[in-house]
């Protein structure tokens, strides 16, 4: 946990900030202008969000495969699996229910 990583430089923080700014500006601009179809825009919003979260994790939380202790990554992976099962399962059940009740 306490190992210092390569991302602890001003240059690295600024890189992360600029990447995050671009990844925020893209979805906001698309929604603002309405340049693309709603479905396409939603897909781009989702992709930009996932990429921006990874940018924050790497540049600001300093997570990486080299210096982050294994138990921290394991805890993160475990949380990700739990979130996938619980969120994915909840949405599956609720939308299936909705479909059967209303369909």
């Amino acid at each position: 946990m306490s190992q210092r990583e390569v991302t602890h430089t001003y240059r690295s923080y600024l890189t992360g900030f600029i990447l995050a700014l671009i990844l925020t500006a893209i979805p906001f601009a698309l929604v603002w202008t309405g340049a693309m179809a709603v479905g396409t825009t939603l897909v781009i919003i989702a992709i930009a969000a996932v990429v921006q979260m990874l940018v924050h994790m790497y540049f600001f939380l300093h997570l990486n495969l080299r210096t982050t202790p294994r138990e921290n990554l394991l805890a993160l992976a475990f949380a990700a699996v739990l979130i996938f099962i619980m969120v994915g399962g909840s949405l599956w059940i609720m939308f299936d229910l909705h479909h059967r009740m209303m369909g």
Binding site: T9, M53, M86
Partner: protein, 205 residues
């Protein structure tokens, strides 16, 4: 300004955080953040399920303001990098600069909370309070919980400023600053989820 230029402290710490003695606390805090991530994830799931249930009340499109959300997003993103500058200053043992950047971060965070509160008050006055519909219950729960976290983070930053001013950058203080930084950056990640799941699709619909 890079790591290579960083002087070592009296304790010989070349490490982030408080060193070996604090690794367990830092891992414990990481576990707490993971549980917090699960709480937020389930509130997101609840919101997505409830977002269509407007009960003849106002819908997302009529309530959300893209410019307002963009402003909040920018303040929080900016506060993430100013906290990063505080962390870097702590690695360079520049106590006053750490305090300066922490105060800037707290101000940006306070600006964010103020914008959120004004948004909530405006919605409630317009008859779109949390009791109006399932959609608004889920909205206020999710966004309000994030806002409470940010408020707690601001209190943490102010306590941190006091500790650095009084005690200096001792190893326990470094460990607390490190954990507070994890918390602050984590909240910015949750906000990415909020504007991508709540605000942008809401305005788009």
């Amino acid at each position: 300004m890079t790591i290579a230029d960083t002087p070592t402290t009296d304790h010989g710490t070349l490490e982030l955080g408080g060193g070996k003695a604090f690794e367990e606390r830092e891992f414990g805090f990481w576990l707490y953040l993971m549980t917090d991530a699960i709480i937020f994830a389930l509130m997101f799931a609840t919101y997505v399920v409830m977002s269509g249930n407007i009960a003849a009340g106002p819908d997302a499109k009529s309530l959300f303001d893209l410019q307002h959300t963009a402003g909040e997003t920018f303040l929080l993103l900016l506060s993430s990098i100013t906290f990063g500058f505080a962390t870097l200053s702590s690695l360079e043992n520049q106590n006053n600069r750490v305090i300066f950047w922490l105060v800037v971060t707290a101000c940006l965070g306070a600006g964010f909370v103020a914008m959120e509160v004004s948004e909530f008050v405006g919605m409630i006055n317009a008859g779109a309070g949390p009791g109006t519909s399932g959609f608004l219950s889920a909205f206020f729960t999710l966004v309000g919980t994030h806002g409470l976290h940010v408020t707690a983070g601001i209190v943490g930053i102010l306590v941190m400023v006091g500790q650095i001013a009084v005690k200096g950058l001792t190893n326990p203080v470094r460990s607390r600053l490190y954990r507070l930084g994890l918390f602050w950056h984590f909240l910015d990640i949750v906000w990415i989820g909020i504007f991508s799941v709540v605000y942008l699709p809401g305005i788009l619909s």
